[in-house]
Amino acid sequence: MPGPYGWLFDPRLCIECRACEAACKQWNSVPVGVNVRYRVVRIREYGSWPNVSTVPVSSACNHCENALCARACPVKAYVRRADGIVLLDSSRCVGCGFCDQFCPYGAPQMNRRSRRMEKCTMCADRIDRGLQPACASICPTGALTWGEWEKIRDRGVASISGDPTPNTTRPRIRYVHAP
């Protein structure tokens, strides 16, 4: 499967168990306690009591088609693989934080200890071994899935209420059943 790849998220099926977050940390050995979380589940609230609703959103780097993070980086620490995955070589990072300022999703994050940025790799190492990214592979309900962008791009909608506009960066995520 040559890529590019993308995420498909269905908030209706998300049970807020946050296995995606935990599996991400575990597989990628993401350091804890340094303010770096490649994937985060957040719950958005709408309306007011008792006419209230919530939408859980599991978000990580969307490996945008137009990756502003990579364009903003003054030391070219970002590379895009042939399969579209946007990778950050932290060893080249100088910690200026421009990528963070340009990313609308908060994907690149400053490791408080190393003072360098880190970011979701879409588990490129797993993909190279024929595995799904850790988050999508563990999601108990199929709320978060991953696959070829070709098969995802026309499903659901490009953004849900509260998201930044997808028109500029063209993120590789779609939402099924957006509220």
Binding site: C17, A19, Q132, A134, S137, I138
Partner: protein, 744 residues
């Protein structure tokens, strides 16, 4: 027998979810495969040990280190998946704060502000000391002077306690599902965790957040039911994940679920909407019809509306739909509202009656009993000498709750009362096995109670608050280092067993409680720890024997390599039930004989909002934590390091509280101070705080000092209160508190 994922997809148990997933994953099919492994990696099958549902795990181990944990595809319970806690499991194994070897205290002064002055000792010294103490106190003060705070497992540990004639063994079930055990024994013939949600058409959910905050197996089932078009109705003062998934959600007044359940029975009985065939054949309805009809006549939906804020017409309509558009199911689960109010025993009974009237007990779409492979315990394999009859006083007072004693349960909520007031000084020796004082209502009181104990042993994986009060601490292995056979008991239409095996060798000097039982047994009650040939019981040989007798293979080593066993057999619904009459009992004559209500009676929760304490106090367990045992796991800690006072925007505005502002919550027994979190998802007359935080042990480098103990404002109880309130199932009343809240 090993089955492939595709076989599993066809099985009834997971069919709903499977079809859902396969539909969603159309196009990704080729990627949805078991993991491939690199040459230096090893994949081992084991069972999770964070919660009792014990999902099957595929553990990838690289160079002797756990690399990744994921679900075991053929497992009925996890259904190939893990939750957030399960995925973070390696964080328990590699927690740098773990207890590594036995230690003893050198500072005789006990208290959380005292340095215990722990020094390392050998297992030999630890076991010899503990054995001497047990022998000394038993001889001098009788078995009643020993307190074991532990669950009744594994079998070797139970044998040790029985051989000692232990009177006082207590565990936390009164805060969980104890009322359901007590009641179901007489209504349907036993507590069951199995809910056939996926074949149900109508789910009535009372209480907290079943979808997120309990077990993955239930989430799978509820989502599968939803996908198949079942209707889901949910009563909860909090809009949470389950409310979001439900077709109808009612922000019910805390503690009034019982009124709604009684009114639903009223509608179903007066309108004769129950499942006639089932009720006539398999229940005692006809025998007690007059009493039943007369009793429930008073509980009209209009009456219930006044207590619950659920509209009468909704109660009436839902009752009719539930009875006629079935199969309908009403699950009851731990940490639900049902389990934790003073009226929880009555609610467990009412819920059981709803299931009986729906005719779905042990039927498709209902609560059913697990079909399991009988795995013999140590007593079946090596029959023990006769156990002594336990003689002595129950320190938690549950001798006044005979039905609780019958199911070998106890009471966390009344333990401090017994230790400090009723029988001060009676307990000389306490052994905590994987419990801390955080699990008790009013933990400070429990700490005081512990200080009255002469000798305390704590066995745990971590240096908990309770460990700091111990005279000896023993390092326990985690579930990832343990060996066991784990039958499926939460989704078990046919028998299945998953292995639990060490995915890495036990670290440091950590040992299992079973091993401790044998070693203490050899020293204290040696006759109970010999095989018929006179050798000491060997845990490995015992496990081999269990594997053989259960038909799982020729040895544990062999079963480890297979990992999972499923027995093909059809699901045959029960026609007799394990109650005294052999029928499902709506009216329970055995309750009447004990002087209890034979039919559930409306009782209010123990404490009502007042001018001084105007708000309901609710506690919950967050999705990513398990009770008070996971807050030091590095991954889970980072995801949720602390707790907050969750209040509604309406209430915040009325009291002038801003997001993040410190607030003081005060009940009649205590005060906590913590930041506020403002939401639109909670009733304005409630304050909600997550359980499990507020660890004080400085040896927990992450969890120490983070958040507050929700239970510092929850009153402990006396057994007399339970008796007076008809709480004969001994619900701990941890949701009964009312509080005041003010900005700081």
């Amino acid at each position: 027998m090993r089955s492939t994922r595709r076989d599993w997809l066809r099985m009834a148990g997971g069919a709903g979810l499977a079809s859902l997933q396969s539909r969603l994953l159309a196009g990704f099919e080729d990627w949805f495969q078991p993991a491939t492994t690199a040459p230096d990696e090893q994949v081992l099958i084991t069972a999770c040990g964070i919660c009792d549902s014990a999902c099957g795990i595929r553990a990838t181990v690289k160079d002797g280190v756990v690399r990744f944990l994921e679900g075991l595809p053929d497992d009925f319970q996890g259904q190939g998946k893990l939750c957030g806690k399960g995925a973070a499991g390696a964080g328990f194994l590699y927690d740098p704060d773990r207890l590594k070897y036995p230690m003893k205290r050198t500072n005789p002064r006990k208290g959380l502000n005292e340095d215990p002055g722990f020094i390392r000792i050998s297992w030999q010294e630890a076991l010899d000391t503990i054995a001497d103490r047990i022998k000394f106190y038993t001889a001098r003060f009788g078995a009643e002077s020993l307190l074991f705070i532990t669950r009744p497992r594994p079998d070797l540990w139970v044998r040790f306690m029985k051989a000692l004639g232990v009177v006082n063994r207590v565990d936390h079930r009164d805060e969980c599902y104890q009322t359901d055990i007590v009641v179901q024994k007489y209504t349907t013939g036993g507590k069951s965790w199995c809910n056939d949600f996926e074949n149900s058409r109508y789910l009535l959910l009372f209480g907290f957040d079943m979808l997120t905050k309990t077990k993955l197996v239930h989430s799978h089932g509820i989502l599968a039911a939803k996908e198949r078009g079942a209707k889901i109705v949910f009563f909860s003062p909090h809009y949470n994940t389950t409310a979001r998934i439900a077709d109808e959600w009612y922000p019910i007044r805390p503690g009034s679920d019982l009124a709604v359940a009684l009114a639903m029975i009223h509608v179903i009985v007066t309108e004769n909407l129950f499942n006639q065939e089932f009720v006539d054949q398999f229940t005692n309805f006809r025998q007690y019809e007059k009493e039943i009809r007369a009793h429930f006549a008073q509980y009209t939906p209009e009456w219930a509306e006044g207590l619950s804020d659920v509209p009468a017409e909704a109660i009436r309509r839902i009752a009719r739909e539930f009875a006629t558009q079935g199969p309908g199911i009403v699950p009851l689960h731990k940490k639900s509202l049902a389990a934790n109010y003073m009226n929880a025993t009555q609610l467990a009974h009412a819920i059981s009656i709803l299931n009986i009237l729906a005719g779905t007990v042990d039927r498709p779409g209902g609560r059913y009993f697990p079909r399991t492979v009988p795995i013999p315990g140590v007593d079946a394999i090596y029959p023990p000498p006769a156990y002594p009859k336990p003689v002595g006083r129950r320190v938690d007072g549950t001798d006044k709750l005979p039905l609780v004693r019958e199911v070998d349960s106890g009471s966390f909520s009344t333990l401090a009362d017994g230790m400090l007031k009723k029988y001060p000084g009676m307990i000389k020796f306490a052994f905590f096995n994987m419990y801390t004082v955080l699990g008790f209502p009013l933990p400070a009181q429990m700490e005081e109670a512990l200080k009255t104990v002469e000798f305390t042993v704590v066995m745990d994986t971590l240096p908990t608050d309770t460990a700091l009060l111990a005279d000896i601490v023993l390092p326990s292995i985690t579930y990832l280092e343990a060996s066991d056979l784990v039958p499926r008991e939460y989704n078990a239409k046919k028998p299945q067993v998953v292995v639990r095996q060490p995915v890495v060798a036990p670290m440091f000097e950590a040992k299992s409680i079973g091993w401790v039982a044998i070693e203490l047994g050899k020293r204290v009650v040696p006759d109970y720890f010999r095989t018929p040939s006179g050798d000491w019981i060997n845990p490995a040989a015992l496990l081999d024997e269990k594997v053989k007798r259960a038909g799982l293979g020729s040895s544990f080593a062999e079963f480890k390599s297979v990992g999972i066993y499923t027995k093909e057999q059809p699901f045959t619904p029960r026609t007799t039930f394990a109650t005294p009459s052999g029928k499902c009992q709506i009216y329970v004559p055995e309750f009447a004989a004990k002087g209890y209500d034979p039919l559930p009676v409306w009782k209010p929760k123990a404490e009502q909002p007042s001018a001084e304490y105007p708000y309901y106090y609710l506690t919950f367990i967050p999705a990513i934590h398990r009770r008070n045992s996971t807050q030091n796991n590095p991954i889970l800690h980072e995801m949720m390091p602390t707790n907050a006072a969750i209040i509604s925007r309406t209430l915040a505005e009325r009291l002038g509280i801003r997001e993040g502002q410190m607030v003081r919550i005060r009940s009649r027994v205590g005060t906590i101070e913590l930041p506020a979190h403002i939401t639109e998802t909670l009733r304005p007359d409630c304050v909600m705080v997550a359980h499990g935080f507020g660890h004080r042990s400085r040896l927990l480098s992450l969890a120490a000092g983070k958040g507050v103990r929700d239970s510092d404002v929850i009153p402990s109880r006396t057994v007399e209160e339970f008796v007076a309130a008809g709480n004969f199932g001994g619900a701990a009343c941890i949701m009964d508190a009312v509080v005041n809240i003010e900005p700081l």
